[in-house]
């Protein structure tokens, strides 16, 4: 069925001769597969000008359309550009004042800590539930698998702008379905329960929304990956008397490690950058209690019209993100080299 494309996608190398797919480009590390080694490998392919010509359009596009704005953004972060300066088009150079103000403000650090905790919790929830649902998919009959995959694809396909609107309404204080569900289940106090009472409760609802939208991606990919594992491995492990838990850690996890690596990497970026979901839910409120870094920057920029300050926030955000992700970069680059 249609929904399995991810499975197919992931199983590309399985359809193709498995070992050559992964390892033909570089000499394999161990001697056991020497037979498969291709002496020509990459060296047989032309070097010279061609690769540069091929990457040129991409490089030029990225430099002009992303690199240049990023540099402008850095410049902006050293300027005072508020409503007045934007209109007169005369930015005022103020050096590191924006950074000084930010780094010396406890509000900023609160938001930083909140962003990291929020990202960590979200990614954990997404990866955990996504993995479990992926395993569930792998263990289902054909029909049920189709039903569940379709449900996941529906959630996945729903545009963020639309899903935020729906979620806001589901958790509405007066007309929300969530309160109705709680009442129907017999819980007291849900006559007009405010799900956005505090910053934390707001972030919990946002986590539900983000998890709901992101889990399908992880689950379907997880399932796709599992199909490449091959049932004989589980069976064998089970024969040896291993528990489900042990099977996962001893058999599935090592195989799926690259998958977890890359998916976690993407989810961290996506959650950390999540803006529409956080902002649209409660505009960073109540009392700025649910502001994450991108929302903080947006409120400071588009809301308060302190564009220089907002640029400084965004620059610091990028720097922090890169710092946090640097070990990921190293891992992935290493993987790159092995290919």
């Amino acid at each position: 069925m249609t929904v399995h494309s991810q499975g197919v996608v992931t199983s590309v190398p399985e359809d193709a001769p498995r070992k050559s797919a992964g390892e033909s480009q570089t000499p394999p590390p161990s001697g056991s597969k020497e037979v498969l080694q291709r002496p020509r490998g990459r060296r047989g392919l032309p070097t010279g000008l061609l690769p540069y010509l091929l990457v040129a359009p991409a490089v030029i596009s990225l430099v002009v359309l992303l690199g240049y704005p990023l540099i402008r953004n850095v410049i902006l972060s050293f300027q005072q550009v508020n409503k007045r300066e934007l209109i007169t088009r005369k930015p005022e150079w103020i050096g590191v004042d924006n950074y000084k103000e930010l780094l010396g403000s406890s509000d900023f650090w609160t938001v930083v800590v909140r962003s990291f905790v929020f990202t960590a919790v979200n990614v954990l929830v997404i990866m955990l539930i996504g993995t479990l649902i992926g395993i569930l998919l792998n263990n289902l009959g054909k029909k049920m698998r189709l039903v569940l995959s379709l449900a996941l694809v529906m959630a996945w396909a729903m545009p963020i702008v639309a899903s935020v609107t729906v979620f806001k309404w589901l958790f509405d204080e007066q007309f929300g379905v969530a309160n109705w569900v709680m009442r129907s289940l017999g819980f007291a106090g849900y006559e007009q329960h405010n799900w956005f009472e505090t910053g934390t409760s707001t972030l919990v609802i946002i986590t539900v929304l983000i998890a709901w939208g992101s889990i399908p991606f992880v689950a379907l990919n997880m399932y796709a990956g599992l199909t490449t594992v091959g049932t004989e491995l589980y069976e064998a492990a089970r024969m040896d008397g291993a528990s489900g838990w042990r099977i996962f850690w001893a058999v599935v996890f090592p195989i799926m490690k690259p998958f977890f690596l890359v998916t976690t990497f993407l989810e961290v970026i996506w959650v950390f950058k999540a803006f529409a979901q956080v902002y649209a839910m409660n505009a960073g409120g109540p009392d700025r209690g649910s502001e994450t870094l991108p929302v903080f920057a947006f409120v400071e920029g588009s809301g308060q019209q302190h564009y220089g300050m907002a640029a400084a926030i965004s620059v610091l955000t990028i720097v922090m993100l890169i710092a946090v992700m640097s070990f990921y970069f190293r891992l992935i680059l290493k993987q790159e080299e092995e290919q």
Partner: protein, 429 residues
């Protein structure tokens, strides 16, 4: 394989045509300046009744052949940034409606054309003296006042009658009445729908006590919510809000009280503007119901004077970068002139007070406009300084303060925190 190649070529071709589309539309815009001129007018959603503005444009276009007026209705959401960026562009809208609490802020940026010399042409002599200050900065005129409105209490006549309550004249009577509705309806009816963040309503109570939101302190301004008088105002708001089950952390627009809340019934009274009352009536009638509303000004501390109210409204300004300043001024003189404003007042049925006293709508007894008129004499504005606009932007510290107090925090501490934020924002240029 061939198919895919063709597809790829088709793609490239498409990009060219897409790019061509972009440049087409732009050159289309450029030619406008050569041919017939266009005056672009931005008005906010709900400000200008459609038939009225069409009549204004017809009269204007009859006077100026070859000139077209292009009216663009703007949404409130994100309007500040939209106006700011628009004023920074080479071809901004010529005439822009600005909230009266925002005008000074834009005037200070240099984005608005100064209109001091055009006062006579615009008919400034007849303007409402209460509305004019919001259009000025440092003694110079930057906009024409357009309309103003204030809030009154809208009540369900039947609910009041059932409880044996008549419209109150003082705060004490008001509270007593709400208490009575509460006890007689046994919780079925909400005596007053008042969300926690109706900060314009709070401002009135603060003014009643002799306090203010912010005052001038030497060259700077400072927030004064922590002033004992201002806290008195908040205390009264809290008392009033205890008669409502409305959310404490929302304002009157989320959910929209007039169309989403009141029409559902079970609400004896609420505080709203003219268009809100109209919207509620329409929503009720759409659902095949019947609205029987009465109106009274927000009661004051004593019977001789109604409670102070925030004088909300709009001004019409001209962009400094406008390419058609003279035409824009002519349009402004026409639209904000006495004759058209009289028609405007008529078209809004008195829900909006026109900029000329003499253009005012003679409100029949028992209407919203009548109740609004009674309170107009005690209408007040937010502090008139360019920094005030910064205070109002979300997250609005006054709103956060209100929610905190309503949820039981110490008013003094919460007010001091809010004052700190207000002081910081109001002095930012």
């Amino acid at each position: 394989m061939k198919r895919k190649l063709i597809a790829a070529i088709g793609v490239a071709g498409m990009m060219v045509s897409v790019a061509a589309c972009g440049s087409d539309s732009k050159s289309g815009g450029d030619t406008k300046t050569d041919g017939p001129k266009t005056v672009t007018v931005w008005v906010m959603d709900g400000s200008a009744p459609e038939p009225w503005i069409q009549a204004v444009n017809k009269e204007f276009e009859a006077k100026h052949k070859d000139v077209k007026v292009d009216v663009k209705i703007q949404k409130w959401d994100g309007i500040q940034e939209k106006v700011t960026t628009a004023l920074s562009e080479d071809t901004p809208p010529d005439v822009i409606e600005l909230g009266n609490t925002q005008t000074a802020g834009y005037a200070a940026t240099g984005g608005l054309a100064e209109l001091t010399e055009d006062k006579a042409k615009l008919g400034a002599d007849g303007w409402n003296k209460g509305m004019l200050p919001s259009a000025e900065l440092d003694g110079k005129l930057y906009a024409a006042p357009w309309w103003a409105a204030n809030r009154v209490v809208v009540y369900d006549k039947k609910a009041f009658k059932d409880a044996g309550v008549t419209p109150p004249k003082t705060r004490d009577e008001w509270i007593a009445g709400l208490e009575k509705i509460k006890s007689t309806s046994k919780g079925k009816t909400q005596p007053l729908y008042l969300p926690g963040q109706s900060w314009y309503v709070l401002a009135g109570f603060i003014w009643d006590e002799g306090g203010d939101l912010a005052v001038k302190d030497g060259d700077n301004w400072k927030g004064t919510l922590a002033d004992p008088k201002s806290i008195e105002g908040m205390n009264f708001y809290k008392k009033l809000q205890s008669y409502s089950t409305a959310p404490k952390d929302k304002d009157e627009a989320t959910p929209q009280q007039s169309t989403d809340v009141v029409p559902k019934g079970g609400i004896a009274s609420w505080i709203g503007l003219g268009w809100e009352a109209g919207g509620a009536i329409k929503a009720i009638e759409d659902a095949k119901g019947k609205a029987d509303f009465g109106y009274f000004p927000i009661p004051g501390k004593t019977a001789d004077k109604p409670g102070s109210v925030f004088f909300g409204g709009s001004n019409l300004a001209i962009a400094e970068r406008s390419k058609n300043k003279d035409l824009a001024k002519e349009w402004l003189a026409l639209a904000a002139g006495k004759d058209q404003m009289a028609k405007y007042a008529q078209a809004t049925e008195g829900a909006a007070l026109p900029n000329h006293d003499s253009a005012a709508f003679k409100a029949p007894a028992g209407t919203f406009a009548e109740a609004m008129g009674q309170a107009a004499s005690v209408g007040k504005l937010t502090p008139i300084t360019e920094g005030w606009a910064n205070v109002e932007t979300n997250p609005n510290p006054i709103k956060e303060y209100m929610t905190k107090v309503l949820k039981g925090q110490d008013p003094k501490a919460a007010a001091e925190a809010a004052d700190k934020e207000i002081t910081e924002r109001i002095n930012k240029k």
